[in-house]
């Protein structure tokens, strides 16, 4: 089928929990792929995204590579979506924001119990850590936010079907309250 909606997904400083929750739409995936084609995503192994309609980003921004990936998505996706608590607020990885980065790295690589051959990794292949973990909307423009840790499968389903059917996405209250 031509003119399928092209969707890309990625996880930055996240745990892939949001992706797992997305897969929980279960058999509805079959309905979805009638309208949707996956571009760059952990479920396709395509390395770079091109000309996509929707980009789903899980996780916050913790290092320079996250910044590059996020920018690639922004450049190639018409609609960019922050998925889950980490993308929206920094989430669990942002708990390190209360500890200076130098202390974090010293503890992990120099002073921690059981560290052998202490040294801070410096291979140019490795991305450098930002001093603080940031929500993604502080680095690029984000069009929509899907709250939740993780957002439920129904949230993904409602959001994507709204977009596919040309409606302004809206999440009813029972999908976004958690107590």
């Amino acid at each position: 089928m031509a003119n399928k909606i092209r969707v890309a997904t990625t996880s930055l400083a996240g745990c892939f929990g949001c992706h797992m929750s997305f897969l929980d739409i279960d058999e509805r995936m079959l309905q979805l792929v009638e309208h949707v084609e996956f571009d760059r995503s952990p479920i396709t192994d395509i390395e770079h995204c091109t000309n996509c309609d929707i980009g789903l980003i899980e996780g916050g921004v913790c290092n320079s590579e996250n910044v590059h990936v996020l920018r690639e998505f922004r450049k190639n996706c018409k609609i960019l979506v922050a998925v889950g608590a980490c993308a929206i607020n920094g989430g669990l990885p942002a708990m390190r924001n209360f500890i200076p980065l130098e202390e974090c790295l010293n503890e992990a690589y120099l002073d921690g119990i059981g560290v052998e051959n202490p040294q801070i990794p410096s291979d140019p292949e490795l991305p450098l850590l930002l001093d603080k973990v940031r929500p993604i909307h502080e680095v690029v423009k984000i069009d929509y936010f899907l709250p939740g840790c993780p957002p439920s499968a129904d949230v993904f389903w409602k959001f994507l079907t709204d977009l596919i059917e040309g409606r302004e996405p809206a999440l009813p209250y029972d999908l976004v309250h958690y107590d």
Binding site: S64, R71, I120, S122, P124, L126, L130, R134
Partner: protein
């Protein structure tokens, strides 16, 4: 210390409602509130220690860690900035050898900023151990530095450092005619209480704090409550930046203000009154206590007032640096010795106020006007002003004008008239009603002072064309983020987000959608906040965005988006630790077009 705290608690009869007073004494004595004192107070006042800690943390003037023996606070009001506050505090910081926000290593002095201290007509201003300093300049700072380094006690400092002027420039109906002690009460008893209330009704007097509720109606509602224990509270927590008229009224017309409170007590049959005086006006405390004592001696307070069988007395409570306590229900919470968090309304204070008893809370100026009306009658007052705003309004005028000070005008006076009188020229705009009010531009000066047009609690700040509107707005927005009480999320989080978003635009990191995002945030804070602070906190942005949209747009970059922080700078620590400086160890602030 155990004995000190024990004695203190005993003096205050172990009343937890006196917590603020007790903490103030401890803070003055130890320059902070020690943990052990909190433990002991919890026992003595039968109050959870966490509640005491929350009160200490809530008020700016209490600290959990030691501050200097001399604690210097410099007023951060926009008017102080216009008088060169920034370079002065830098100079002071260098002279005293202490960074802003820190305590000097020897523990002798600490330095910080504080919200407007109400000395806008004689700034740059500050506080030393709570006592007001005015007209600060290099010479005075040199002197202060010497006094501190010699560790001279405050009572040996030269008086002129603490001189606070009234600067009454244009008195009107109320200020021209100071009343004789007791004459308002005599007139009231002679005419009859009911009859005096109806004179007040006829006068059309509305609350002078800004909201403008009819005074007679408020008093009537309170007097009709079935509960017999009732209270009168005078709101002298004059925290709106740019306002200082209540300071002058309490300095020079205190008798009349207290008389207005006593008059109210007679009408609503209250036995106890409170003057809630903002902590920044500590310099008035002793003087006001003296006046209360004088009135007791004269039979105008205490038992059997004027031999009419009326019993009423007034207590003065000092605030501790919280703007929110100017909101009447937060003020009542504070009077009860708690954090100043606004209550849900209704019930309003007239039905459930102090200790849940019916309470009238009015502004200083309202009580003063009520006393004059009791003598001169309702028509005398109602003859002046507009249809919906009767009488006069006392303004505190400051900023770019030749004669800052106190002015009194009939309602309905045009802004242009006021500007002409105070000697303002080349005016860019005027902030009416303080940061929570309205910014009006120079083509709107035909507008009037009145509840039906421009309402104000008294703040009137003039800006000339040399001023930068965005800097003004930024000062106000930072003020609200600092003063948010933290109770409701739209205000606590919203005012901080607003501060960050505005900083981003002003610092030049803004791009296409950022002004829209700014406005959306403003609407959210305005519509979702719990009390007046949040509901008005976005006004500085909203009122200037409406008038100068191009000013905001011109700050934006012609790109779709830019981060509001230094992206490459955020890698600096990691770069240093990994000893790297290759191309991969850097990030461009904005993605390069390819």
């Amino acid at each position: 210390m155990t004995k000190f705290i024990q004695d203190l608690a005993e003096t205050h009869r172990y009343q937890s409602t006196h917590l603020l007073d007790i903490l103030r004494s401890i803070q003055t004595h130890y320059h902070y509130i020690p943990e052990a004192a909190i433990e002991q107070l919890a026992e003595l006042l039968k109050t959870p220690r966490t509640q005491i800690i929350s009160v200490v943390e809530f008020y700016s003037f209490f600290h959990l860690s030691p501050h200097g023996e001399y604690e210097i606070l410099i007023s951060d009001s926009i008017t102080d900035h216009m008088l060169g506050k920034k370079s002065l505090i830098d100079y002071l910081s260098k002279k005293l050898n202490v960074a802003v926000g820190e305590v000097r290593q020897d523990g002798v002095v600490s330095l910080d900023n504080t919200s407007c201290t109400g000395m806008c007509d004689q700034g740059p201003a500050g506080l030393v151990n709570g006592h007001a300093l005015t007209h600060l300049d290099h010479q005075r700072i040199d002197l202060i530095t010497d006094l501190i380094n010699q560790q001279k006690p405050l009572n040996e400092w030269p008086d002129n450092l603490f001189l606070v002027e009234d600067n009454i420039i244009k008195p009107g109906l109320l200020l021209n005619q100071s009343i004789n002690q007791g004459s308002a009460l005599q007139a009231t008893f002679k005419r009859g209480l009911k009859e005096t209330l109806s004179e007040l009704e006829q006068s059309g007097l509305r609350g002078r704090g800004g909201a403008g509720f009819k005074t007679a109606t408020k008093w009537k509602f309170c007097s009709e409550e079935p509960e017999t224990l009732r209270y009168v509270v005078c709101n002298a927590d004059e925290g709106e930046p740019g306002t200082f008229k209540d300071r002058v009224l309490l300095n020079t017309y205190a008798h009349q203000v207290f008389e207005g409170m006593t008059l109210c007590a007679a009408i609503i049959e209250a036995q106890q009154g409170f003057l809630y005086l903002r902590g920044e006006y500590l310099h008035l405390y002793e003087k006001l206590q003296g006046i209360l004592e004088e009135r007791r001696q004269a039979g105008l307070l205490g038992n059997n007032i004027l031999k009419q069988g009326m019993n009423f007395d007034i207590e003065i409570c000092l605030g501790a640096g919280a703007y929110i306590c100017g909101e009447e229900s937060a003020l009542i919470e504070s009077l009860e010795g708690k954090m100043g968090i606004p209550r849900n309304r209704p019930p309003y204070p007239v039905t459930q106020g102090y200790l849940d008893k019916p309470t009238v809370v009015n502004n200083v100026e309202t009580f003063m006007a009520a006393a004059s009306i009791a003598i001169n009658g309702g028509a005398w007052f109602a003859n002046i002003g507009t249809e919906k705003s009767k009488g006069t309004k006392i303004l505190s005028i400051c900023g770019d004008c030749a004669r800052p000070g106190i002015y009194e005008y009939p309602f309905g006076t045009s802004i242009q008239t006021v500007l002409d009188d105070c000697g303002a020229s080349d005016v860019l705009g005027v902030q009416i009603g303080g940061p929570s009010g309205t910014f009006i531009a120079n083509h709107e000066f035909k507008r009037q002072l009145a509840f039906e047009d421009l309402a104000t609690g008294g703040s009137f700040i003039v800006f000339d064309n040399s001023r930068n509107i965005l800097e003004i707005v930024n000062n106000f927005i930072h003020f609200f983020a600092h003063e948010s009480c933290g109770f409701c999320t739209p205000c606590r989080v919203g005012t901080s987000l607003l501060k960050k978003q505005l900083d981003k635009i002003i610092e030049g990191h803004g791009s296409a959608g950022d002004v829209v995002a700014l406005e959306e945030l403003c609407q959210l804070i305005k519509t979702q906040s719990h009390c007046g602070l949040g509901q008005t906190a976005a006004n500085p942005v909203l009122t200037t965005l409406e008038r100068y949209p191009e000013l905001y747009q011109s700050q934006l970059k012609k790109i779709s988006y830019e981060p509001g922080f230094d992206l490459d700078g955020a890698l600096e620590t990691a770069r240093r630790l990994a000893k790297r400086n290759d191309a991969g160890a850097h990030l461009a602030q904005v993605e390069e077009e390819s």
